[in-house]
Amino acid sequence: MTDRALTDTLRAYATGSIDADAGPRPSDLTVCLGRTGDLPAAAAALIGPHSMALATVVATDETATPDGDLKVRYVFEPTAPGGPDRFVTLLVSVDAARPEVPSLTTAVPAANWHEREIRDLFGIIPTGHPDPRPLVVHDGWPQGVFPLRKTFDGSRRVPVEPADEFPHLVAEGEGVFEIPVGPIHAGIIEPGHFRFTSVGETVLHLDARLFYTHRGLEKRMEGLSPLDAFYIAERICGVCSVAHGLGYCEALEQIAGVEAPPRARLIRSIALELERLYNHVGDVGNICAGAAFHYGTATGMRLKERLQQMNERLAGHRFLRGLVVPGGVQLDLPDDLLGALAVTLQETLSGLDGLMGRIEANPSVVDRLDDTGVLPHQAAVDLAVAGVAARASGVDGDARRDHPHGAFAGPEPPSVHVATASEGDTMARVTVRALEARESIRLIGEFVRRLDPGPLQVALAEPLPGGRIGIAAIESPRGEAVHWLRTDVGGRVERYHLRSPSYHNWPAVALAAETAIVPDFPLVNKSFELCYSCTDR
C-alpha cells in the first residue's frame, strides 16, 4: 500500500487536517491528526482496510518545547505475512491544560493497557476507557502526580497515602469462589497478583494485576547519555538481555545514522538465537514441571544449564550481557569457541528431540497439555499478541522476517521458517516452541557459515544527533518487542519506551485461563512464558 493511498483513506475517515510525512525511518509514515477526535476513525482505517495492528503507544511530555503540549503516538504495523517493514504512526497533540484523548480500547482491545499506562504516568485521560483502575502505580500513589511528566523529579520518593483495597474484577454468585494468588509466589518466580474467580475447579474469570516490579526504568534513562543508558536497557529483563540490548542499540544507531558492520550483525543474530534457544529449551522443561513429569523437568534444566555455560564461555556472561553494544559487538567469536558452540548445539538438538519424544509418548503429559488454555485466533489478533503465543494460535508473524534486524537486515539474508499451529492450546505452544528452538540451531549454523573477517564496531560519536527518533522491532524469545527512542537537543535520552511482547500477551493469558481449571493455570502460564520485569519496567 502506497503512502498516498494510505493518507487518502485517512483523509476520507477524518474531519480535521491530516499531515503525513516519512519517518521515523524512511520507510515509515507519521500522520499528524489535526483533530484529536479523529483518532478512533483513523485507527479503524488502519486496522480495517489496511489490516494493521497496534505495535506500541508512546506518550511524550513536550510542554517545555515550542509546541507546549503533550503528544501521544499510536504506532501501527502491517500484519500480512511478508508485508513491508514499516511503521505507521498516528500522532495527536494533547492540551496539557485539558489532557484528554478518545479511548481506542473498545474498538482496539490491544490499546487497553497502553491507555491505562499513559493515564497513570502522564495524566492523559483516555475518555471512554472501560476500566478506570490504575495499572502501573499501585495503592497509595497520590492523585495528580504523574512520574513521566518532565516537571516530575524521578529521583525523589513519593509518600504513600492511605488507600482502599484494590477493586479486583471478580464474578459473583452462588458457589463462586475467589482465589487470591501472589504477588509473592510459592516458587522462584517473579511477582504478580492473580485473582481467580472459580466455580469448583473451573476458572470463570482471572484478573491479573502486575507492575509490582515497576522500577521506573524509562524515567531513569531520561537525561542520560544514550551510551550510558544502554546498560540499563540491557538490564530491563534478565532473560531478554540480548533482545532488549539489541533493540535499544538498533534504535540508537538509526539516530546516529550508522550501521553495525556485517560481522557484528551476524554475531548479534547468533546471540539473539542463543537467547531464544536457552529460553525455549528451559521452558519445555518447565512445562514438564507443571505436568509433574520430573524426568522432563530435570532434562530441560540440564540442557538449559549447558547452554548458559556456553553463553558464559562466549560472552563471559550466562545471559550474554556485554556482547551486544551500541555500534556493534564487544567481543569476537573466534574459531575455537565456534567449534565448542557447534558441539553444544548438536547435543542440545539431540537432547531436545529426545525430550520432546518422551513428552509426546507420555499420555499423562499430553492429556494435561491438549485443549488446555486455548487462545482463539481472533483473540490473538485483537490483542495484538506476539511471539510463540500468537503463532500457536495461527498468527503468522515474526519480527525477524517482518522487521529485519541483526543479520536479517543485511543483503541476501537467510530466510527464517516461521512455525505456526492452529489449535492455540498449551500443546500447540509447546510444539511451536520446540520447532523454533530447532530453527534457532539451524540459523546459528547458517550465521556462523556466513561469518567473514571484518570490523566488530563502528564508533558512535558523542554528542549524538539531537531531536531524532529511532524505532526498532526485535523478535525476542517471547515475540516482537518495539523500542522507541528519542534524543533531546543535546543528544541525550529524552524518552525511551519499550513495548515488550509480554505487555501484549498478559491479557491473553488471562483469557486463555478461562478455558482451564485452576490446577492447570501453572501449565497455561508457563506455556506463554511471559516476563513480568519487561512488562513492568
Binding site: V137, H138, P147, G154, S155, R156, R157, V158, V160, P183, I184, A186, G187, I188, I189, E190, P191, F211, Y212, T213, H214, R215, G216, L217, K219, R220, A229, F230, Y231, I232, R235, I236, C237, G238, V239, S241, Y295, A298, M301, R302, K304, E305, Q308, Q309, E312, R313, L314, A315, G316, H317, R318, F319, R321, G322, Q330, L331, G354, R358, C531, S533
Partner: protein, 272 residues
C-alpha cells in the same frame, strides 16, 4: 519408562563438586574488577552503575569501587583504561558488610587494603550460633523484591542437576513460615515494599536475610527513585551481600554458605 531409565543412566552424573573442588570460570568471565596502581585510573563517569567514586586529598587521587553496585559490564576495563583496570576472575565475593565490598586505590600508589571492620565478640558469637543451628540444614524462601529475573533464574539454576544445592542440605521452600531465611533478588520497588516486609516478618525469628545481586545489595544500576527504595538494606537488615549482575550460581552458593558460617567471606585485597 524403560527408555527414560536408560536415558538417565546414559546421561550419568552431571553434578559439580563445588565448593569441595574449586570452580574455574571460563576465560571471558568478568569477575571483580582489579584497579591497578597506575595513574591512569578511569573517572567515575565511566561507570554506568555509579560504582566508581573518587576524592582528592594530600595523599593523591583516591578511586573507590563499590562491588555491591558494580554490574560487571567491563566498561572501566575497556580502552583507554585497559592498562589500569582488568576484569578479574574472582566471583566468590559475598560479604557480611557493605563496607567490605569497597575497594579503594590511590593513583600512583600500591593498592591499599580495604579496611575490613573488626568483628566484635557479639558478632562472632552470633555467627557461630547461626552455624550451629542452620549450618547443616537450611531452608530458604526466595523473595523477588523487583528484580529483572536474572538473579531469580540463577537461584532456580541452583536446583538443577548440575548445582543441586540440596546435596548441601539447602533447599528453597514455598512458604516463609517454613523458612530459616530469605534470599532477596532485586531492588525494593514501591509496589512491593509492603509485601517484602510482610514476607520477611512471616519468617520465624531468628532468620537470615541474603541480598542476591547488585540491585538487592545496593539498588544497582537503577538506584533510588520514585518507584524504587534502592537496596534491600534500606528496608530490612541484611546479613550477607552477594555482588553480581547476576552472580553466577556458584557465587550465590558461596554467599549462602558464608551466611551460615560454613565458608568464610574473604576480605578483598588481603595482605598476604
Amino acid at each position: 519408562m524403560l527408555r527414560i531409565l536408560l536415558n538417565a543412566l546414559r546421561t550419568g552424573v552431571v553434578t559439580i563438586r563445588y565448593p569441595a573442588e574449586p570452580s574455574a570460570p571460563p576465560d571471558r568471565f568478568r569477575g571483580a574488577p582489579v584497579l591497578g596502581p597506575g595513574s591512569h585510573l578511569p573517572p567515575p563517569t565511566v561507570c554506568p552503575a555509579g560504582a566508581l567514586s573518587e576524592r582528592l586529598d594530600a595523599g593523591g587521587r583516591h578511586v573507590a569501587l563499590d562491588l555491591a553496585r558494580c554490574v560487571f559490564c567491563g566498561r572501566c576495563a575497556e580502552d583507554p583504561w585497559a592498562d589500569a583496570v582488568v576484569m578479574g576472575r574472582d566471583f566468590e565475593l559475598a560479604a557480611h558488610h557493605r563496607d567490605d565490598l569497597r575497594i579503594e586505590v590511590v593513583a600512583d600508589a600500591p593498592a591499599i587494603p580495604a579496611v575490613a571492620p573488626g568483628r566484635d565478640a557479639e558478632a562472632v558469637r552470633a555467627s557461630s550460633e547461626i552455624h550451629r543451628v542452620l549450618g547443616r540444614s537450611l531452608h530458604l524462601r526466595h523473595l523477588d523484591a523487583g528484580s529483572c529475573n536474572a538473579c531469580d533464574w540463577e537461584l532456580s539454576a541452583l536446583l538443577n542437576p548440575v548445582y543441586d544445592i540440596r546435596r548441601l542440605g539447602i533447599d528453597f521452600v514455598a512458604s516463609p513460615r517454613h523458612a530459616d531465611g530469605v534470599v532477596v533478588t532485586g531492588l525494593v520497588t514501591r509496589n512491593l515494599e509492603t509485601a517484602v516486609r510482610r514476607t520477611v516478618e512471616a519468617v520465624p525469628d531468628p532468620r537470615i536475610v541474603i541480598a542476591v545481586g547488585a540491585c538487592a545489595a545496593s539498588g544497582g544500576i537503577v538506584g533510588e527513585g520514585y518507584a524504587s527504595a534502592g537496596g534491600v538494606d534500606r528496608v530490612l537488615p541484611v546479613d550477607v551481600y552477594i555482588p553480581g549482575c547476576p552472580p553466577r550460581p556458584e557465587a550465590i552458593l558461596f554467599g549462602i554458605l558464608v551466611a551460615v558460617g560454613r565458608l568464610d567471606a574473604r576480605r578483598l585485597h588481603r595482605e598476604e
